[in-house]
């Protein structure tokens, strides 16, 4: 019994040391290679940013909105969207940005998709949570467990040269791969109520109202089967706390006519570089931004 107790204690000590080394190494690798991590660190280290527009949202916005192109067109922009981001995290990101930097953006684009309810309820993005101001680190923050998804991303990069060739530009993730959309339109209807009743969208609208920022909500285009047959809008939204926002239904079949289903997607409703540029131009022509030339 004494022998097994000794072996157990020795092994537990070994395991603790092993975990410490492995997690430290993993964190260093992830911080240097993961797109979300790099972008997050970049957004925390801006020196006096003067962005006219911030883009918030999930990977659909991260892939789909070409912030460099928007800057070229006179709207200095940064894409803060993260893979799998929740609206709650978007609210945290915006709040943090406003606390950290003095110059307010004129616009915030919050890009939602047809699964808004799911993303509105989700927790905080692990990369944001880990790097949040005054965040207490506990056992749930063991890097190898907390950043599982980032590990999967790393593996994808290790196996696929194409995936590895993706890169960040003003926060936008650019990938050139083409995956054709073979789905068919389902002719769904836009549910405006879900936006007005979304708790974290309301909180973002409230912050924007207080800071005199125009909040533009967009339902970002998806593949044919997710598109709806409602009008593009704009729809004026008013929330319970009297804050307001404007919603553009850019996932309407009418708006999405510009998309070439054979060439513009990289998979699962995510635009490739070409699709993103086309979408961004079309969006700039649809939404009346006050562009400073």
């Amino acid at each position: 019994m004494r022998k097994i107790s000794t072996i157990t204690i020795q092994f537990l000590l070994f395991f603790a040391l092993f975990s410490l080394l492995l997690n430290s190494l993993y964190l260093i690798v992830i911080m240097r290679t993961d797109w979300d991590f790099r972008k997050r660190i970049e957004s925390l280290k801006f020196t006096n940013p003067e962005f006219d527009l911030l883009i918030l949202g999930s990977s659909l916005a991260q892939y789909g909105i070409d912030s460099e192109l928007m800057t070229d067109k006179g709207l200095n922009s940064y894409n803060m969207a993260l893979v799998g981001n929740s609206i709650k995290t978007c609210q945290i990101q915006l709040q943090e940005y406003l606390e950290r930097y003095t110059i307010r953006p004129k616009y915030v684009i919050l890009a939602a998709n047809t699964f808004l309810e799911e993303f509105d309820q989700n927790g905080i993005h692990p990369v944001v949570e880990f790097t949040m101001h005054q965040q207490k680190i506990d056992l749930n923050d063991i890097p190898i467990s907390k950043f599982r998804w980032q590990g999967t991303e790393l593996l994808k990069k290790a196996f696929s040269a194409e995936y590895r060739s993706g890169y960040l530009s003003s926060g936008q993730l650019r990938r050139s791969k083409i995956v054709a959309d073979e789905t068919e339109n389902n002719y769904m209807q836009l549910d405006v109520d879900k936006y007005e009743s979304a708790e974290w969208v309301r909180k973002i609208a409230n912050i924007c109202e207080k800071e005199n920022i125009e909040l533009i909500l967009i339902e970002i285009p998806g593949v044919n089967e997710t598109q709806n047959s409602s009008q593009i809008g704009p729809y004026k939204l008013s929330f319970q706390d009297k804050s307001t926002a404007t919603l553009y239904n850019l996932n309407s079949i009418e708006f999405c006519k510009f998309i070439d289903p054979e060439k513009d997607w990289v998979g699962l409703s995510h635009f490739n570089t070409t699709g993103a540029a086309k979408f961004t131009m079309k969006m700039l022509n649809t939404i009346p931004f006050n562009v400073s030339q």
């Binding site: 092993f18 590990g151 999967t152 196996f159 054709a180």
Partner: protein, 476 residues
């Protein structure tokens, strides 16, 4: 209590500690209390039923023993065992429809809502096997009821086997072994491997397999091809993972359970495959159904073998559940084994013309493919879904279902090949494997490598979390 939960691991740890501190005379009682407690976690009344079930078999076993040559007690035992199985597991398919023919709305299957039939398919086979053993004179009836109770309820194997043989189990608990460092280390090592197979591999595959079968009509052909290739691996890692946990847990208490898997995907035909996959079940059907039937029908010659094969494998299919899909699953196995039986010479001539290794791998691949196809009957909810599945296989767009955006469990492309290579070494390069095993597991110089390996497995378990995903074979 889910045996892949952290709760179970802690429970096991404490249970083993107490077991080895206790004087040996209390260990049998202690294991019974643990097992009954474990069974009660599923439904509080379940232990009462299992105790009653054991007592009936205990009584009948002794009567059979005392009245050699007098068959009523033996037949009564078989009828009672099968009746309670049909009543609690198959009533909704067999008894209820019969009753409804007479215009009655009585639902006999409602009994199973009260006495939840968890583990019933396993302990019933153990009960029947025990009675047959006594009747055939292969073992003496157990005179200590508590020992028989532990045989039926022993918690590591209660839920999903292995289907233990009474003459293998009871002899071990006559004097429960004391503390052994080797048993403890080896037990934990087997459990760790089982948790890895179940949590890190099978649980990652489960959502894809289960969700696709829920809605086959919407699944593209490419996904179904991927599913077809993956489903044997899913079942294997799920069930062999469970078995490893059961065997390892049992070893911690000094009890060795029968093996259930022996590198089945390296079998060169289906006859060998079923000697290596779910061994405890297939060997049970072989010993207690096929051989008994073949013997009784021996005057019929080859027809006896064929009839026995057909009945055995149909029953084997039905054991998994009462439905056409399971019956077809069994029949397909019977067809494959019959084909192999009758074409043995012809195949030997044919394969003598190809290099030995090539022939071996052709056999292995075709066995795997046949099992993959047969498993569609296992996973599909009904025959309509099976037909739909096979029809849709031709609906190919040649797109890769796992693109860069996908959230698929990419880590599996590392884990599965590693385990496959280990099994390949064990199977085809056993000398090399034994050297490697000796160095890794027993050489004091290999300690650092050994602990690093354990730490990696533990880390992957932490990453994947002790999530609850029911065992496929827990349904039987």
């Amino acid at each position: 209590m889910d045996i892949t939960s952290l709760k179970f691991v802690i429970f096991l740890f404490i249970a083993v500690l107490i077991h080895h501190v206790l004087p040996s005379k209390y260990r049998l009682g202690y294991l019974i209390v643990l097992s009954i407690g474990f069974v009660a976690t599923f439904r509080i009344y379940l232990p009462l039923y299992v105790i009653l079930y054991t007592y009936v078999n205990f009584y009948l076993g002794n009567r059979i023993n005392d009245n050699k040559g007098d068959k009523p007690f033996f037949y009564a035992g078989i009828i009672i065992n099968l009746s309670q199985l049909i009543l609690l597991r198959y009533a909704s398919f067999s008894i209820d429809p019969l009753i409804s023919l007479f215009g009655s709305g009585l639902k006999v299957s409602a009994i199973s809502e009260f006495i939840v039939p968890i583990g019933i398919s396993y302990y019933t086979l153990q009960g029947i096997g025990y009675l047959i053993n006594i009747n055939m004179g292969w073992e003496k009836a157990e005179t200590n009821f508590l020992r028989l109770l532990l045989y039926i309820t022993f918690f590591p194997k209660f839920l999903s086997g292995p289907i233990e043989r009474s003459n293998h189990f009871l002899i071990q608990i006559e004097s429960l072994k004391g503390f052994s460092v080797e048993n403890i280390i080896s037990g934990f090592r087997i459990i760790l491997m089982g948790l890895f197979k179940k949590i890190v591999i099978a649980n990652q595959l489960a959502p894809y397999i289960i969700n696709t079968y829920k809605d086959i009509d919407r699944a593209p052909g490419d996904t179904l091809w991927l599913l077809l290739i993956m489903q044997p691996l899913y079942l294997y890692f799920d069930f062999s993972g469970y078995t490893d946990i059961a065997i390892g847990s049992s070893k911690l208490f000094g009890i060795n359970l029968l093996p259930n898997f022996n590198r089945p995907f390296f079998s060169k035909n289906m006859t060998i495959f079923w000697k290596r996959f779910h061994i405890s079940l297939s060997s049970w059907f072989n010993d207690y159904v096929f051989r008994q039937l073949s013997f009784r029908l021996r005057k019929l010659g080859v027809i006896a073998t064929l009839t026995a094969l057909l009945i055995t494998w149909t029953l084997f299919g039905i054991w998994h559940g009462a439905g056409w899909t399971f019956m077809f699953l069994g029949l397909l196995q019977a067809l494959a084994i019959t084909y192999e039986f009758f074409t043995k010479k012809w195949r030997a001539i044919l394969f003598s013309k190809v290099p030995e290794k090539a022939g071996l791998w052709i056999g292995r691949l075709s066995t795997y493919l046949f099992f993959s196809l047969a498993l569609t009957f296992f996973f599909a909810p009904d025959m309509r879904s099976v037909i739909s599945f096979f029809k849709k296989l031709s609906d190919l767009s040649f797109s890769i279902p796992l693109d860069g955006i996908s959230t698929a469990p990419f880590m599996l492309i590392i884990y599965i090949p590693i385990l496959w290579i280990i099994e390949l070494l064990q199977e085809d390069y056993s000398h090399l494997y034994q050297k490697f095993e000796l160095k890794l597991l027993y050489d004091p110089k290999g300690l650092l490598l050994r602990w690093t390996l354990y730490s990696i497995i533990l880390t992957t378990l932490i990453i994947e979390g002790f999530k609850n995903q029911q065992f496929v074979y827990a349904n039987f």
